[in-house]
C-alpha cells in the first residue's frame, strides 16, 4: 500500500514546507545526502548536493528547469560510490535515464533513495531565467500547469516535454506528487519499503492521498501520447529520406554538444573524438577528389546515424540534445522517432524496468529469424 503525506502550504510557502521534509531526512539520518534542485544564492536553479540539514532552505524540486540531465549527475555521484546514502530528487525522464545507466553500470543504485517528482515539463535554460525575472515561481508554474497552461508571454515548455508521456516517475522509492493535487498542497508518496522507512524517519506526517491524482495523471498521459503520435506522424511524413535528413542537419557543425548533453550516450570516449576520426590531409584530399569537393566538417550524417544506432535503444526523450544544440537543429524528434522504431523491434522501452535486459547485451539462437529469412 502506498503511503502518502500531505504537504500543505500558504501562498509562496511550498518550498519552505518541502524543505522541512528534506531537513528531516538528513537530520534523522534517513540519508547522508540529498541531491535536489535548489535555488542558487544569486541566480537560477541547479541540482545541488546537500549534506547538512542546515542547508535545505533553498530546495526547489518542482522548478521547471533542468539545465543538465540529473541522470548524468547521478552517474558522477554513484558510478564510483562514496559509500554514503543519498536521496536523489529527479524528474521522470532523469529517473528513466538512471534506470538505463544503471543497467550499463554507470549508475550504482545501491545506496540511493530515488525520489521522482511529478513533471509538467521544463523550460529551456534561458527561458527559465526570463520566467523567473517575470516573477514566475514553481508554485505559480504548478498552479497554471494543473489548469493546462504552461506557456508564458514569450515561452513554453520544451518540445520534448510537450510530447512526453511519462509525467510521473516509476521505479522510484518515493514520489513528490503534484499532478492532480489541489492548490496549496503537494504530496509525498512512499512507494517501496525503503521509501516508507525514509518517510517515517523524515518525521513528515499527516494528510490523506491526493484524491484526483490517478485520474489527472491518466488524462495528462493520454494528452501527451496523442501529441507524441502526432509529432511522430508529422516527422515521418516530412523527414523520410536521407536528402531531407541532410537538409535538417544542414546547420549542424559537428560540435557534438547534443551527445555530451544526452544522458544515455554512454560511451566513455565517443569514437568521433578518437584517432579513428583524426584523418590526415591526404585522406581529406582523397575524399574531395572522389566528387571534386568535400563539405567540412564532414561526417555530419555519419555522426547522427551512428549515434542513433548506438543509443536510440536507450533514448528517454528528455530533449537535452535539442536544448544543447547551438544551431537550432532540434535532434530530439529525430532521436525519439528513431527510438520508437528500434525499441519496438526489441520490445524494449527505455526506462521501463531495471530487469529488462539491454537489447544489445543479450542474444539467442532462435530469435530474429526474419533478419536472414533462412531456416536450416
Amino acid at each position: 500500500m502506498a503511503k502518502f503525506v500531505k504537504v500543505s502550504f500558504q501562498k509562496d510557502g511550498m518550498n519552505k514546507e518541502l524543505s522541512k521534509f528534506f531537513k528531516g531526512l538528513l537530520a534523522n539520518g534517513a540519508v547522508d545526502a540529498v541531491l535536489t534542485p535548489m535555488a542558487q544564492a544569486r541566480k537560477g536553479v541547479r541540482l545541488s548536493l546537500v549534506t547538512s540539514p542546515d542547508h535545505t532552505a533553498q530546495v526547489d524540486p518542482f522548478a521547471p528547469v533542468a539545465a543538465v540531465s540529473g541522470a548524468k549527475i547521478a552517474s558522477s555521484l554513484t558510478a564510483r560510490p562514496s559509500g554514503r546514502k543519498i536521496a536523489m530528487v529527479l524528474r521522470p525522464c532523469e529517473i528513466r535515464a538512471v534506470v538505463e545507466l544503471s543497467k550499463l553500470n554507470q549508475v550504482n543504485l545501491e545506496d540511493t533513495l530515488l525520489i521522482g517528482m511529478d513533471c509538467f515539463g521544463r523550460y529551456e535554460n534561458t527561458d527559465f531565467a526570463k520566467f523567473q525575472e517575470q516573477g514566475g515561481t514553481s508554485e505559480s508554474f504548478l498552479e497554471n500547469a494543473q489548469a493546462g497552461k504552461t506557456a508564458t508571454a514569450d515561452c513554453d515548455i520544451t518540445g520534448a516535454c510537450k510530447i512526453c508521456e511519462f509525467p510521473a516517475a516509476d521505479n522510484v522509492d518515493m514520489k513528490l506528487c503534484a499532478i492532480g493535487a489541489e492548490n496549496g498542497a503537494v504530496y509525498i508518496e512512499a512507494v517501496t519499503e525503503k521509501g516508507e522507512q525514509a518517510l517515517e524517519k523524515s518525521g513528515a506526517k499527516g494528510g490523506g492521498a491526493p484524491a484526483g491524482r490517478d485520474e489527472a495523471v491518466k488524462k495528462l498521459v493520454a494528452a501527451r501520447t496523442e501529441a507524441r503520435d502526432k509529432k511522430f506522424a508529422e516527422f515521418r511524413e516530412t523527414i523520410n529520406s536521407f536528402e531531407v535528413l541532410a537538409d535538417k542537419l544542414a546547420p549542424c557543425v559537428n560540435c557534438y554538444n547534443c551527445r555530451v548533453a544526452c544522458p544515455v550516450c554512454y560511451c566513455k570516449e565517443c569514437v568521433f573524438v578518437t584517432d579513428t576520426f583524426r584523418h590526415n590531409g591526404e585522406q581529406f584530399m582523397m575524399w574531395a577528389d572522389q566528387g571534386g569537393m568535400l563539405k567540412l566538417p564532414n561526417d555530419t550524417l555519419f555522426f547522427h546515424l551512428t549515434r542513433m544506432t548506438h543509443m536510440s535503444l536507450y533514448c528517454v526523450g528528455c530533449g537535452q540534445c535539442t536544448s544543447a544544440c547551438p544551431n537550432g537543429v532540434d535532434p530530439m524528434p529525430m532521436f525519439r522517432a528513431c527510438a520508437d522504431k528500434t525499441q519496438a523491434r526489441f520490445n524494449y522501452q527505455a526506462g521501463r524496468s531495471l530487469s529488462d535486459e539491454l537489447p544489445l547485451a543479450g542474444f539467442k539462437a532462435d530469435e530474429l529469424v526474419e533478419v536472414t529469412g533462412q531456416v536450416k
Binding site: 574531395a288 546515424l305 542513433m308 536472414t372
Partner: protein, 142 residues
C-alpha cells in the same frame, strides 16, 4: 546507356562465408562481380559504422555473410551481429535504406552454391531498385 551495375560491399566472415566464396572460385562457379568483398574474422566484428560508412560512400547494398547459428567460430558473434543488423535496419529504414539493400545471410564454408545464389539474387534485386538514395547525394552524404 549501359545497364546500372550496383556496388555491393560484402563483409564475409573468414571461417564460413569467405571460405564459401573461395570454394565458389575453385569450383568455377561464376557469380556477379558486383560484390566487393571485405574479409573479417567474424560477423560479430562488423561494426554498424562500417555499414553506415559503406552506404554513405555510395554502396547500393551491403551484404554481411557469416556462419550459421551454432557454427560461429567465436561461439556467438553471429548472434550479436543479427541483433545489431536488426537495430541498424530500423535506423536506416526510416530514411529509405531497408531490408532489400541491407542483407545478413548465413553461408557455411561448404555452401559455395548458396553464395553464388545470394550474390545473383542481391545483384538482381539492386538492379531493380536502382542506385541507393545516398549514392545520388554523392559528396553531400560524406
Amino acid at each position: 546507356m549501359s545497364e546500372f551495375e550496383p556496388q555491393i560491399v560484402a563483409f564475409f566472415c573468414n571461417w564460413c562465408t569467405f571460405t564459401a566464396a573461395d570454394l565458389a572460385g575453385t569450383s568455377r562457379l561464376s557469380y556477379p562481380p558486383n560484390l566487393k568483398i571485405v574479409r573479417v574474422m567474424c560477423t560479430g566484428m562488423v561494426d554498424p559504422k562500417f555499414v553506415i560508412k559503406a552506404f554513405l560512400n555510395g554502396a547500393d547494398g551491403v551484404l554481411i555473410g557469416g556462419c550459421w547459428p551454432g557454427d560461429c567460430h567465436y561461439i556467438n558473434g553471429n548472434l550479436k551481429a543479427r541483433r545489431r543488423v536488426a537495430n541498424l535496419t530500423e535506423v536506416l529504414k526510416q530514411y529509405g535504406i531497408g531490408e532489400d539493400r541491407f542483407w545478413l545471410r548465413w553461408i557455411a564454408a561448404s555452401e559455395g552454391t548458396m553464395l553464388k545464389e545470394v550474390a545473383i539474387n542481391m545483384t538482381e534485386k539492386l538492379k531493380q531498385l536502382g542506385p541507393s538514395p545516398l549514392r545520388n547525394m554523392g559528396q553531400m552524404a560524406i
